[in-house]
């Protein structure tokens, strides 16, 4: 049966993009790992080894947990697929989700872990690392990712048994990661990986097995058709939000748990921000702290929230109403700004706590970049961004249009000289002009829902 799950997944991706796109992702992974490995010694000069291992473990764990949650909890929103066939075939839900777990475990190993390992091997002549070192690193990444992925499988099972248990499990994981990173509590995987590698490997495999077996055992053999009744909230929300589409979108956001997902979405970027500051500080040999550049970085990461919004609902029914897909895009954009503000404003205020004079420019550049990125994303991908992720042409255009101005703003805002200020002003004006231009074109481009 696993064979058919693998084929289905492959064809699902092909339906979203061209055949070669399927292999673009591992190629990217291989390339970026090889490039990253070349600078490994510079990175290790900025962090102590414990911090470096912790960062690798936490980021790959969160990656595994994130993709797993997206798969297990997100798949139920999709239409007819093999995971959902238990309803019409003599198959238990327990078994179909086990197959989904195995399928993704195989794909992530083939498309992520192996290309990463290949990238590390390719870089050996330049990085100066040994085969043993990169193999040890690759196994650490593999185990951390599978720990995260298996934890997401268990969290999914808990979600269907008792929701409070699911949230308690989530909180416990993240509390452990944060406390562990800051060495507030013993962080076993890291300590063991450094001091007793064989014990670390054994315990990690054991822990993955426990998570996996627990998840499999408690997954119900059949999901009861829970009739999820809700009180009518539309009228009350309409009074607050006025616009009918925004009202509906905010109801979706709250009922779909998008606020929680968005907050979690920021967790990984915050770690990356932390690394970024450390690297910049190390490269320039001084402590660099620019709340403005961090705010710009934050706005770059915020685009993930837009993709959450676009998969929240099955928008096909909108095509039966007198609406254009552009109307949905506009609503996504407003909702995006509301959510992103709720999460980012406290962070920006926190970043500026010791340098209040930077508060206004931080907010100005944050919102400018949010507006610009939203305009570009919506123009390129429309009301659904899922297909965009599999189309290398769109990803390339997006990277070019979005990352370049973001980098210019980030680097320029590290220093407050007149030259940098001029660059920021010029870049900002260009971004506003481009945004207005693409928004006007989006209006004409995005009419239909097909």
């Amino acid at each position: 049966m696993l064979k058919y799950f693998l084929i289905e997944e492959y064809r699902r991706h092909l339906s979203l993009a061209k055949r070669y796109s399927f292999f673009v992702f591992p190629a990217y992974v291989m390339f970026f790992t090889a490039v990253g490995a070349v600078f490994i010694n510079d990175v290790l000069s900025l962090f102590n080894y414990r911090q470096f291992v912790s960062l690798v473990m936490i980021t790959t764990f969160i990656y595994g947990f994130g993709v797993g949650s997206f798969e297990f909890l997100g798949r139920s929103f999709e239409g007819f697929n093999l995971v959902n066939t238990s309803a019409i075939l003599p198959l238990s839900t327990r078994k179909t989700y086990l197959m989904a777990y195995m399928r993704d475990a195989i794909y992530y190993t083939l498309l992520f872990i192996l290309p990463m390992y290949a990238g590390l091997i390719i870089s050996l002549p330049i990085s100066g690392l040994s085969v043993n070192q990169v193999s040890f690193f690759a196994v650490t990444v593999l185990l951390s990712m599978f720990m995260g992925y298996s934890a997401s499988y268990l969290s999914f099972s808990l979600y269907y048994i008792l929701k409070p248990l699911y949230f308690a499990f989530l909180l416990a994981i993240f509390a452990y990661l944060i406390m562990g990173y800051f060495a507030k509590i013993p962080f076993f995987p890291v300590e063991l990986q450094i001091t007793k590698a064989p014990v670390y490997f054994f315990l990690s495999i054991l822990f993955i097995a426990i998570l996996f077996i627990s998840a499999y055992s408690i997954t119900p053999s059949e999901f009861k058709g829970q009739s999820r009744e809700r009180k009518e909230r539309f009228t009350a929300y309409k009074k607050y939000f006025r616009d009918v589409l925004l009202t509906k979108e905010m109801l979706d956001v709250i009922r779909g748990g998008i606020l929680l997902k968005s907050t979690l979405t920021y967790f990984l970027p915050m770690i990356l921000l932390f690394i970024f500051v450390r690297i910049l500080s190390g490269v320039s040999n001084r402590e660099i702290y620019s709340p403005i550049s961090l705010s710009v970085m934050l706005s770059i990461f915020s685009t993930v929230v837009y993709s959450w919004l676009t998969i929240m609902d099955d928008y096909r029914y909108m095509a039966n109403l007198p609406l254009a897909s552009w109307d949905i895009i506009k609503t996504h954009m407003v909702t995006h700004v509301i959510i992103v503000s709720m999460v980012s404003v406290p962070i920006i205020v926190f970043l500026n706590a010791s340098t209040l004079s930077m508060m206004v420019p931080s907010f100005a550049l944050f919102y400018l970049n949010v507006f610009y990125l939203l305009s570009i994303t919506s123009y390129l991908a429309g009301y659904r961004v899922t297909s965009m992720l599999f189309d290398p042409e769109i990803v390339m255009k997006f990277s070019l249009y979005s990352v370049v101005p973001g980098i210019i703003l980030t680097i320029s805002s590290l220093d407050q000289g007149i030259y940098s200020t001029m660059i920021i002003i010029l870049t900002s004006v260009s971004m506003i002009a481009i945004s207005i231009f693409v928004l006007k074109r989006s209006r004409k481009k995005w009419v239909y829902f097909d």
Partner: protein, 229 residues
């Protein structure tokens, strides 16, 4: 009699696939016009073009509006019950109908009327995607008829309904026609087409190849046209 749907030389391509090939059609107001055809003949595409859900080339007017040039405008005047079920993920039945009423600028009283008319009272607080297929279909009917559309487009409308609700829906559609509405319906159920429709068109390979006015021997005529008799 006033023309509800006018189509001349309609062409539609999906990439390299030529789906509608110079299609011509005329439907009078007050008619129940059925469009029959084998799978892949272009029935759903035709409905999508006529309701402004996809672009095309040709001279088309639906309820006096050109759906190719004014795709959103035409949907103010028509109602659509699509073939594939598509309902909101997080709205309840009542909230979805309130949403549709707001989008169409209808008074809130229409929501209650629709809930009663389509027997949705027991489901008003149920999240739409948790409904059975048949109840989803009734909900889509309710949403499509709330604004008394000039033309109602139905794509395989009875496929998920049990015999009781097929009958209820038939009665509702008859009332709608008696009130001056027009129906354009794509279906595979020949018995339903012959019982409900005033005229039937056979769509084959992207063109309407025959218009049938005498529906007594619809099955034989249809099978002969598509080459199975």
């Amino acid at each position: 009699m006033k023309t509800a749907i006018h189509v001349r030389n309609l062409e539609k391509w999906y990439g390299k696939k030529h789906v509608l090939k110079g299609l011509n059609l005329e439907v009078k107001a007050g008619e129940i016009f059925g469009i029959l055809g084998p799978n892949g003949a272009g029935k759903t595409t035709l409905i999508k073009v006529l309701t402004g859900q996809t672009g095309a080339h040709g001279d088309v007017k639906v309820a006096g509006v050109d759906p190719i040039r004014n795709p959103v405008e035409v949907r103010k005047k028509v109602g659509i019950v699509p073939e594939s079920e598509s309902v909101p993920n997080y709205l309840t039945v009542e909230e979805y109908l309130l949403f549709v009423a707001r989008v169409r600028n209808l008074p809130q009283t229409r929501v209650e009327e629709a809930i009663m008319k389509f027997h949705l009272e027991d489901y008003r607080r149920v999240i739409c995607r948790d409904l059975s297929k048949g109840t989803k279909q009734r909900l889509m009917f309710a949403a499509a008829l709330m604004h008394d559309p000039e033309v109602l487009f139905l794509d395989e409308p009875f496929i998920n309904l049990d015999p009781v609700y097929q009958r209820v829906m038939r009665k509702i559609l008859e009332e709608y026609i008696a009130g001056g509405g027009t129906i354009f319906m794509a279906t595979h159920i020949l018995e339903m087409a012959s019982r409900l429709c005033t005229r039937v068109g056979i769509l084959l390979d992207g063109r309407v190849v025959k218009i049938i006015e005498d529906l007594k021997n619809l099955e034989e005529v249809f099978l002969k046209e598509v080459g199975y008799a």
